[in-house]
Symmetry: C2
Subunit: 228 residues, 2 copies
């Protein structure tokens, strides 16, 4: 790029970058506020001061509390989908992939306040987005079970795939709900215990030996992509 054009573009890029940084800081501060106080009691003044900006700067980016919450939800959804995609593209087989995805999502819920707040907001029907992260998770579980059936990984004597999918969704959503009282429920150890219980039931005897309830080594780290 010729030097002259670069110089002309520079102030614009810097301004855009600054706006993006402010928006990201506001989303992160909002997530902390929603996570701590819930949507209803969250205060816009706390969100702007938590991001180190003026109330005016908040209103430049977001019309009202619902708009901030929608942005948190959308960011959380983006991170969750990206993580699920990364884990999926490193898959060994569909059942291991299901366990790996659960471990990766548990880590995001533990460590990324935007994902945690966004997941809860998405379930509370208070915001205006069409996102329903629980339903997306349910679709993901159903898809992996169907793939596992195609790959011949499922035990022959297990019941219907719908019952199985619901049991897995209920158990994993239960870990998230229980975690609000006690973080141990989303620890790697508890998620591993869940799969140590479920995999012997799900997997064909020949497939079981190759499955790792603790998740494929290093997978959670490779898939960990928090919102900056």
């Amino acid at each position: 790029m010729p030097l002259r054009r670069m110089v002309l573009l520079e102030p614009l890029v810097t301004k855009q970058e600054r706006a993006t940084r402010t928006r990201d800081a506001l989303i992160k501060s909002a997530a902390r506020e929603f996570d701590e106080h819930g949507y209803a009691l969250a205060k816009l003044s706390a969100i702007s001061s938590g991001a180190g900006v003026s109330p005016g700067a908040l209103h430049f980016h977001f019309e009202n509390k619902a708009a901030v919450a929608a942005a948190v939800e959308i960011d959380a959804s983006t991170t969750l989908r990206r993580t699920a995609r990364i884990v999926y593209h490193q898959r060994s087989n569909a059942l291991q992939n299901l366990a790996d995805t659960t471990h990766a999502l548990a880590r995001l819920l533990r460590e990324d306040v935007v994902v945690r707040a966004g997941f809860r907001l998405s379930c509370s029907q208070l915001c205006g987005t069409d996102l329903n992260l629980r339903q997306e998770w349910q679709s993901c579980v159903q898809q992996r079970l169907a793939e596992a059936a195609d790959e011949g990984l499922l035990a022959s004597d297990i019941g219907g795939q719908q019952d199985l999918a619901r049991t897995i969704v209920a158990a994993t959503i239960g870990l998230e709900a229980l975690c609000r009282d006690n973080g141990e429920w989303l620890s790697p150890g508890t998620v591993t215990g869940l799969w140590r219980t479920l995999l012997p039931m799900l997997a064909a005897p020949g497939a079981l030996a190759a499955l790792t309830p603790a998740g494929s080594p290093g997978m959670a780290e490779r898939a960990y992509t928090p919102v900056a």
Copy 2:
């Protein structure tokens, strides 16, 4: 009792009865308000008007919102414990009892607003009671599994009882959490599907044939004791 003594006692009994009725109406109205709006946004004025009494009558019974919430929690806990006790005393074996208890509690959560609101309040740590209904449920599951082991009902190749108990608690708490979006998650059909999935994994092959994932016939009805 001589006629004269009856006449003297009557006004006092009537007054006490009226006070009890008012208190019960306030608890039920508060449960509806907490169920719909959550603790933070629930309004004392809506609670008193919902019970058909004056704000003064509410304050005669309860000092503040936390005191009303504590009363809802305590009533919910009483109903849940009584129900679990009734189911326990009609038990056939420990595994069937676990399934039966889940069905009875699911019915209470579906149909009794005081139980539903109390269960959620108890988990939100906003109130001042020492109750933790999720922890009580976890103890109940652990106890039934230990009894099932004593009764020789558990499959020999299943993993540790702690993993099993956590999986069952997570799955059942997950049903309650998911139910907030969609009531189907606590329907008899979904609870039956859960046990249709879990019982073949838990039970020794010889014990399985005698177990009913849908719950012992008529048990949920016999155990249904909503707060009046």
